[in-house]
């Protein structure tokens, strides 16, 4: 059962990475990174149980925290003028297409 869940996690991670590649806007990419982080947390807790070393859970906690921090950081810096400008350009490009 654990193995099945691990495989499912890997598949979902692959799907998320695909979204990260394609992601037309960069919010899609941020979303992909965020979801990827959550899935990694789950994957690592599962791996810890599969290998029979539950000490690995510490790493999962770190992941959860770091993931949050990096998402917030991304959003914080995406507010800077350089990005704002680019988003607008991109948006208009998308609308016209």
């Amino acid at each position: 059962m654990l193995i099945a869940a691990t495989v499912a996690m890997l598949v979902v991670m692959a799907l998320t990475i695909i979204r990260g590649f394609l992601g037309p806007t960069f919010y899609d990419r941020i979303l992909a990174v965020n979801m990827f982080g959550t899935k990694t947390v789950l994957l690592i807790s599962l791996l810890g149980f599969v290998m029979g070393r539950p000490e690995f859970l510490d790493i999962a906690i770190v992941y959860a925290l770091i993931n949050f921090i990096s998402v917030i950081g991304v959003l914080r810096f995406s507010n800077s003028p350089v990005f704002k400008h680019d988003i607008q350009e991109k948006d208009s490009g998308e609308n016209s297409s």
Binding site: M51, G52, R53, E55, F56
Partner: protein, 119 residues
């Protein structure tokens, strides 16, 4: 078949290393060069860790009833290397920022053109 499976990790490492090297050589953008350098570093990390992996072993934290552990020495080397890589990345990025302020660009070619003009 066994050789393929046994060497798979090293091949991935080599491919990653090639990609990193390619980015460093072929891209003009300095930030991207630093990212390439990071990829290169990571490939070396993975190489060391896969050297230290032992079949059937577990993480090198002693528990009762387990005999076989992975190699702790490579882990130590890489652990410090990762933190140092953070420091070098930060330093590199700081230099990039200063270059941007001095030249107004972080593209290699534009910087060269400006340098030539000044000479």
């Amino acid at each position: 078949m066994t050789t393929v499976l046994g060497l798979y990790n090293y091949w991935i490492v080599v491919v990653l290393m090639m990609i990193g090297l390619y980015i460093v050589i072929a891209n003009g953008n300095l930030v991207k060069k630093i990212i390439g350098l990071n990829i290169f570093q990571t490939s070396v990390f993975i190489f060391y860790i896969s050297l230290g992996k032992v079949d059937g072993g577990t993480a090198p934290i002693l528990v009762e009833g387990v005999e076989l552990y992975s190699n702790p020495l490579t882990h130590v080397l890489i652990l410090t290397a990762i933190v140092v890589s953070l420091a070098t990345t930060a330093l590199g990025l700081a230099i990039v920022v200063r270059i941007k302020e001095a030249y107004g660009s972080i593209e290699e070619e534009e910087i060269q053109i400006k340098d030539n003009k000044e000479c």
